[in-house]
Symmetry: C2
Subunit: 532 residues, 2 copies
């Protein structure tokens, strides 16, 4: 494992410290520093993380071969079911799969060969603000917020059904958070809108209030087509024909089923050259074996079959291998997150994806906690850190997820975003420039003195370290004077501050009007319904 840092290094190099530029160190309060850290969002920032620390290889070559051989065995002996869409079965049959009913079986190596021959290793998802476009693949990692919860939670309102107003607020908060890279998708489920039409309002909200990249609707060919149509209004038809501007996830129904709601969207996106993360979603013990090795083989089998299908539909279409594998309590049956088994599975999934030559999609700060408390952050920190160490290229639910995905927490969003920032800083690796080696500073200070007033410290105090947006590191007395707030109470103030200072990226009024007209037309076409 090596540090890919390309900075020039030279042992004992003389530093040319910019002493003239030294500024006096000012004693500022942590809270003001936090707000300054968030405000830096408005300046230049990295649109995604470029990892300078190699991924962890948890499995040996031999171990990886075992998992791959077992996935091949699963696909040959058991196969995968593609339900409710005969066209897919024809496509697979033409490619050489053995089709019986809705079951497709694959000869060993067949699916892998299809994927290796056409899936891109890396691609760019464009944002309407080009500075926010994200590279997906290689050493890049893109962090997206919570996806899917029907509830939201904040300290004043408690746990409640989410509304489109919550959705709008979350999109604005996310847009203001410097450590997220993507506007996400269903940042919460706006259950006050008709279930069969709310995808339109969600897409519009991302397009209108954020200038980052975002998700297309995941479920069903029709809604996927609506997503593509609206993207064409936003980006222009020609641009969308030639570029990836939408990101979607296609979840299998583990074990070994892809249903037509998922495959319909997959087909639509693939044919429009938009990105799909083919993501087996499994709780080991329920939807896959209660072992890491067994779950990995099943996850790989499902990913291989789905990715092969996608590449057969449109060779070269952007895609990712997804892995959302967690565990359950074998005592209570409850889903569990941030577990050691989930950590092992995501690290191994990263290796499997790299061998398949496709980027890895996975999940971040998952927690079963009901509150933005110590459990939430212990589980979430272990989860996101391991996803990053797996070399994941796109991490969904990097912020805000509580209660096993039933809740998006406003406060956890802020605390998790701080972790995103810490990990981004960590993955910059170690700066070995002569200035960072700081030998002259050590010479200047000598034994028994301190570096606070040294010219090296003076020159670098402003950006020497990552500045937290959520932690309080002040003295007990200062913390008490500031109200004695815990992390969630401080985060409550922070998300309100972000909403209050939200900077609207604006939207061309003609585009806005066209989007609204499109939505109105779609909504008129059918009655409201409470189901998808």
């Amino acid at each position: 494992m090596s540090n890919g840092a390309s900075r020039p290094i030279e042992a004992g190099a003389n530093e040319s410290m910019t002493k003239g530029a030294a500024k006096p160190q000012r004693q500022r309060r942590g809270r003001r520093a936090r707000h300054a850290a968030i405000a830096s969002e408005q300046g230049p920032r990295a649109p995604y993380i470029n990892r300078q620390i190699a991924a962890i290889d948890i499995l040996t070559e031999e171990g990886l071969s075992v998992i791959e051989a077992n996935a091949d065995t699963i696909l040959r002996e058991i196969g995968m079911e593609f339900r409710g869409d005969p066209e897919l079965l024809d496509i697979l049959k033409d490619a050489g799969a053995d089709i019986k009913g809705e079951r497709a079986r694959f000869e060993p190596g067949m699916a892998r060969q299809i994927i290796l021959s056409s899936a891109p290793k890396s691609f760019t998802q464009h944002a309407r603000n080009p500075a926010n476009s994200v590279v997906i693949g290689g050493s890049s990692t893109v962090l997206a917020p919570s996806w899917g919860p029907p509830f939201v939670h904040d300290l004043e309102g408690g746990r409640r059904y989410a509304t489109i107003e919550d959705f709008r607020k979350l999109v604005k908060i996310h847009q203001m958070l410097p450590h997220l890279h993507h506007s996400g998708g269903v940042v919460c489920e706006p259950v006050d809108l008709p279930a069969n039409k709310r995808h339109l309002d969600m897409l519009y909200t991302h397009m209108r209030y954020s200038d980052r990249a975002f998700f297309g609707a995941l479920i069903g060919a029709e809604r996927a087509q609506h997503s593509v149509d609206m993207a064409k209004i936003l980006f222009g038809e020609e641009f969308v024909a030639e570029n990836c501007v939408l990101y979607a996830v296609s979840n299998t129904n583990a074990p070994l089923v892809l249903d037509s709601a998922m495959s319909g969207a997959l087909k639509t996106y693939a044919r429009n050259n938009q990105a799909v993360a083919c993501t087996p979603w499994t709780l080991a013990g329920a939807m896959s074996p209660c072992t890491v090795a067994g779950t990995l083989a099943q996850v790989l089998a499902e990913a291989l079959a789905t990715l092969a299908l996608l590449q057969l539909i449109n060779p070269g279409a952007p895609c990712l291998m997804g892995s959302f594998a967690s565990t359950m309590s074998m005592q209570s049956g409850a889903p569990t997150f941030g577990t050691p088994e989930a950590a092992k599975m995501v690290l191994a999934s990263g290796q499997l994806a790299r061998r398949l030559g496709v980027p890895l999609h996975t999940v971040g700060t998952l927690s079963a906690s009901k509150l933005p408390d110590g459990q939430a952050e212990q589980e979430g920190t272990l989860g996101l850190t391991m996803a990053m160490l797996a070399g994941a290229n796109f991490i969904n639910h990097a912020t805000g997820w509580l209660e096993g995905g039933l809740v998006t927490s406003y406060e956890k969003t802020i605390i998790d975003a701080d972790l995103c920032g810490k990990l981004a800083s960590f993955f910059e690796g170690i700066d070995l420039s002569a200035e960072a080696q700081a030998l002259d500073a050590i010479r200047e200070v000598g034994p028994g003195s301190h570096f606070l007033g040294s010219s090296h410290t003076q020159a670098h105090f402003a950006d020497a370290f990552y500045t937290s947006i959520a932690s309080d590191s002040n003295s007990f007395e200062q913390w008490q004077a500031d109200g004695g707030l815990d992390a969630a109470e401080r985060a409550n103030k922070t998300w309100k501050h972000l909403l209050d200072t939200y900077q609207d990226p604006g939207l061309d009024p003609a585009v806005d009007e066209a989007l609204q007209a499109y939505m109105a037309k779609r909504k008129e076409e059918k009655p409201d319904a409470d189901f998808y």
Copy 2:
């Protein structure tokens, strides 16, 4: 990087599932599972972690050489001061160091050569219960509780000065926690006892209420000798003469000073063949340069000089390279923990220690938070996870540390201990046995069904996954019915449960009496004092 797991693996091997042994899955409440998980302490458990996942190499060979060359430059040009103990300067002079006043300068490579030629790569610290003896070195990791805080915090009592009663309670709680391996040292500072005598009561408390390994007193030759004397009463003179039974940390006064309080203890332990972790303690920006690379060079220089001194005092004495390097807020001057820079420093320190051929001592779940909240667990989780990924062999403050080391939190102790358990489980690596590959289970279940009732799940439900001792993964409704408690409130119940069910390991009454007589004699020798 490879998984060192030595289990036999075979792709697609037939599993011989013990179907006769299958038990019906019972729906139990998470709380009962937690208590069951803690109760398993009473059964066999691993006395330390044997890591099956390789450490992260954050620096290349070239990068490591730069840091090592800079450390050599520091020791040659600037040197290190050994204050208040002329004997040390004579020892260093005899070995070839250049001595001017209290300053010792070393030719490049000299200190490293001394260490490489005699320091053991690995050793055992014995506990009075041999089942609890710990290996320190190689792939082993030993987790010890919070060290040093003058305050304690719990939900009812709030933040208050610690007493010997707190000390006793914490030792008993730690003894009951299955995921700690060591009884530690100053688990809190019992400020109700005279400062110049309380080390005796602390030593006695570990010896009496825990049967795990423990620390000797860190400060001053006299107290180190008391520690050795009491260890001889507990273990027998002969055993102590031939075995390591005490663990101590010798902190430098960064930058580049070792004072006589620390070197006095170091000398005493080294001459008695007891373990010393030579640990530069630094907050980058204050006690070392405000850069990772600069701090690493200084840390290595201080460790090299101190370890060389120790090996000159007694070649072959057990020792560790220590690294306790964190950061500070350059805005407020407050110490900061669980930061990205600290993560980089501990990973690089692990590499530097391995090249030096000595085990690595470092620190765990540090946090500047005032409460056992989301900040505490985010900072703590990042810190302990990175320490483990650094390949650290001994991790102090693995549990309970709050407020930058001013507070030991009863509740955080429990929540952190759960993280210790999760990481222990994670570092077992991936089981690739035929049974774990679970191909027959996948065959049995097939597409679209579930694994809950499969014979494989039934056979493994009891131990398939790590069982959390602090998380609540139940449904919102069940959690509400259980009182709607956050992680800290649940941990409050758990530490009380552990205290209530504390199992006294017992102590030979003659040994107990001898220890008490020794303490009484030492206490009579001098008046109480409020200073060391």
